[in-house]
Amino acid sequence: MKLNVTRKDGILIITPKVKRIDASVAADFKSKLIDFLDNGDKVIVINLSEVDFIDSSGLGAMVLILRKIGTDGRIKLCKLNEGVRSIFELTRLDEVFEIHKSEEGALESLKTG
């Protein structure tokens, strides 16, 4: 699974370069995110702007990362399209993840909060 990775003020910004996060890519996605955590990245923004479909396999990968970060770090999501956001709302994971409309908003909240 291809990811675009940048850093801004010490914050890791990950943009999955896929249209779908389902069981065919979820394990690879999870493994790549875990590598970042193992290498010391603890403040992460995941930009989902290019993803137009996510299912429970993708959600499970995100939750696992959130649990692994725990209280040592922070993770924010941004730029979810309507369909992707509705899955987070359906599963109530929008109450667990902090979701921002823009990448700038997510970065700002990490700097100020």
Binding site: D55, S56, S57, G60, T91
Partner: protein, 141 residues
Amino acid sequence: MEEIRLTFPRKVSYLYFATSISKQICQQIQECREDKKFAADVELCVSEACTNAIKYGRSSEREDVISLYFQIHADKLIIKVQDKGSGFNLNSLPDPDIESLPDRGYGLYIIRSKMDDVQYSQTEKGNFLTMIKSFKGEHNT
């Protein structure tokens, strides 16, 4: 009633194939064309059901495959996912408890939420997860 059957190897690489077909089928149904959310819900549930079948439907038979049936009725779409694994008890799987932040268990919850009815049966021909969505059901708003 018209029925479309599809059989594919029990491999995760065929997931996109299955969901793409579901979208194509929905485009053929006038009620679905008029309601984009219907097709999106079907695509999501087909992905969830096929993922479960691919993960847990391992067959001891030489042909390890998943079958997908789309039955188009006047008032509803019935989707059946067949695998030949050991099966499970649909009622024994609770909805995920968000407070404990589980990383699995959302699939069936999503299916139950998006479909009007969900049934599971184990027969000599295999396990069938049946998902029913009415064209004008209360979930189709």
